[in-house]
């Protein structure tokens, strides 16, 4: 009996722990979960210190968010009367409900951060050249979709934080030239935040955007394979070309005088060699499993230690003071609060300049960067290549500026959005709700 169970286990799991190179190779063909990997991958792309496996970490967070999100859907009611109560139920009446919500919340905030850091890694390694430019653009769209998923999820608890963050957010959308008011009307399902808004954000959050992200994620992965793998292999290839092996002239080539110098065979050998590659199973599959488990446990740990915030029930007639956006949008809030320009009677609203035009410009530059990059291709797939020093500095400065704005917004802004230094007493403001 025990032997039979052992045999059955071996029969279903051998693909994950192949005992020979032959089994490694067959695993990719015979296992559904492994079949989307190539049989072999570049050894260099398995390096922890090159990619930090941030893309895998992002995908792990997406999976965690999908599973915990579907669990939350069993309890959440998208109605203005019952939404807040169902979150309270999750916290106090459902076994482990608070844990599920906490994990969903921290995984969501983690995903915004990890996806951005993943993008920064791709930037600092110059890994968006040639056909990989398409995947860079797909990645930018995925980052935006991640932000929009966070934004739509923010409204669902229907607490004060949610209500006023969405008030500010949709008012920014209204400032877009020409189509702004229509976009706001369409997002809200009316002129003010109400039942229609909640339902629309719910459908966007639990169906439309997740499907979009999963489809784009699949395309993102497919493109990685079509582009030949991570950009680090271009570095390996470049090294191979720079140091061609000194092979003797082959007899026929020199006899017929077809080519001077080395033979054609060696010069065309720009591809990866046998020694540069390892089998996907188990080398890649085990690393992916490890990254997933680490990410899962980190979010679980955060969920056990920290509770997701929940303020009082949404009250359209009382604005909390100060009303802050979630941290990943606070830098935008800083911008909309400080970019109103007045020239005589002519006023440009900060919501247009700081909320639409400036982020729009940043986004356009970010998207177009692969076509703006004129550095030599030898900089590809290398961390902080000297040839790209100025580009890397630009990206780092922009990131730093955003981080500083976030820090100012989160830690230094007090009542009425005034600046208070740490430790400086802040005036008591009545909490009216």
């Amino acid at each position: 009996m025990g032997d039979q169970i052992k045999a059955l286990w071996r029969k279903t799991s051998w693909a994950w722990s192949p005992a020979s190179e032959r089994e490694s190779s067959e695993a990719i063909v015979k296992n559904f979960w492994l079949h989307w990997f190539p049989a072999k991958v570049a050894r260099a792309s398995m390096d922890w210190n090159y990619s930090f496996w941030l893309g895998t970490a992002s995908a792990s967070l997406l999976l965690i968010l999908t599973i915990t999100g579907v669990m939350l859907m069993f309890f959440y009611v998208p109605s203005t009367e019952r939404a807040y109560g169902s979150i309270k139920d999750l916290e106090y009446a459902v076994s482990f409900g608070r844990l599920l919500r906490n994990q969903h919340r921290w995984a969501a905030e983690g995903m915004v951060a990890v996806v951005y850091i993943h993008m920064a890694r791709v930037f600092f390694t110059g890994a968006y050249r040639g056909t990989r430019a398409i995947n860079w653009v797909v990645g930018v769209v995925l980052f935006l979709a991640t932000l929009f998923l966070s934004f739509t999820g923010y409204l669902l608890p229907w607490d004060q934080l949610a209500f006023w963050a969405i008030t500010v957010g949709t008012s920014i959308a209204k400032q877009a030239p020409l189509v702004g008011p229509t976009i706001q009307f369409l997002l809200l399902g009316g002129n003010e935040i109400g039942q229609q808004t909640l339902l629309r954000f719910y459908v966007l959050h639990v169906f439309f955007l997740p499907v979009l992200v999963w489809v784009l994620f699949a395309y993102h992965m497919w493109r990685v394979r079509k582009d030949g793998g991570l950009a680090v292999i271009e570095r390996v290839r470049n090294e191979r070309v720079m140091a061609p092996k000194a092979t003797p002239k082959t007899k026929s080539y020199s006899l017929f005088g077809l080519t001077p110098g080395t033979s054609v065979q060696v010069m065309s050998s720009t591809g990866l060699e046998e020694s540069d590659q390892v089998f996907s199973s188990p080398n890649m599959s085990r690393r992916i499993a490890l990254v997933f488990l680490v990410v899962f446990n980190l979010t679980l740990l955060a969920a056990i230690i920290f509770n997701a915030p929940l303020e009082g029930l949404a009250n359209p007639s009382v604005t909390p003071n100060p009303a802050k956006a979630p941290w990943y949008f606070v830098w935008l809030q800083e911008l909309v609060a400080s970019t109103t320009v007045r020239m005589g009677d002519f006023t440009v609203s900060g919501a247009l300049l700081g909320g639409i035009l400036l982020p729009g410009f940043l986004l356009a530059v970010l998207t177009m960067w692969p076509w703006l990059d004129r550095s030599p291709r030898s900089a590809e797939g290398r961390w902080l290549a000297p040839e790209r020093k100025r580009q890397n500095a630009t990206f780092a400065v922009a990131t730093l500026a955003i981080i500083i704005l976030i820090m100012v917004g989160v830690y230094l802004r007090g009542p009425y959005w005034r600046l208070y230094w740490p430790g400086q007493p802040r005036p008591e403001t009545p909490r009216l709700y």
């Binding site: 008012s171 002129n191 007639s317 003071n321 109103t340 609203s349 919501a351 009425y416």
Partner: protein, 153 residues
């Protein structure tokens, strides 16, 4: 001749199916624009004029301030013109908690990101003696509703 007719018929056939397909996508998009809004009307009654003390009184439900100076009344919107938060009256000025806009007692901007002054709403007395506001109607910045001893404007 015969083939030309077929071409036309084929064009009509394929074209109509395609047109129906596109029209249905358009219809689905149009459905997202609501025709009926279950929102409060822009014209509504407040309390009786005598229920308001002198000075600035916040009406939370309607998000506006009723300002009384003896017999003179006017109503200013509490919705910040920047991004729609509720401004708060702080004895000498309105302050917005979201992005720090500041307004004078008449609703014009002192500083901050707000692009324009707070709305000043058309106000009347209804036949049954209540203050009545039309938030869709903006009035001049010196508008005052003077109410006589008989309770009529």
């Amino acid at each position: 001749m015969d083939s030309d007719r077929r071409k036309v018929l084929r064009f009509i056939g394929k074209g109509s199916v395609l047109a129906a397909f596109l029209a249905q996508i358009g219809a689905a998009g149009r459905a997202l624009f609501p025709n009926v809004l279950y929102e409060p009307p822009s014209r509504f009654k407040l309390k009786r004029p005598d229920d308001y003390p002198d000075g600035y009184t916040l009406d939370e439900a309607h998000r506006l301030y009723v300002i009384r100076q003896k017999d003179a009344f006017h109503v200013i919107s509490a919705i910040c013109t920047h991004l729609g938060c509720n401004v708060q009256w702080r004895d000498t000025e309105f302050d917005c908690p979201c992005h720090g806009s500041r307004f004078r007692p008449d609703g014009t901007v002192i500083s901050g990101p707000a692009p324009g002054p707070l709305d000043w709403f058309s106000t009347t007395v209804s036949p049954d003696g209540f203050l009545e506001v039309d938030s869709a109607k903006d009035v001049a910045r010196d508008f005052q509703l003077i109410i006589g001893a008989n309770g009529k404007a």
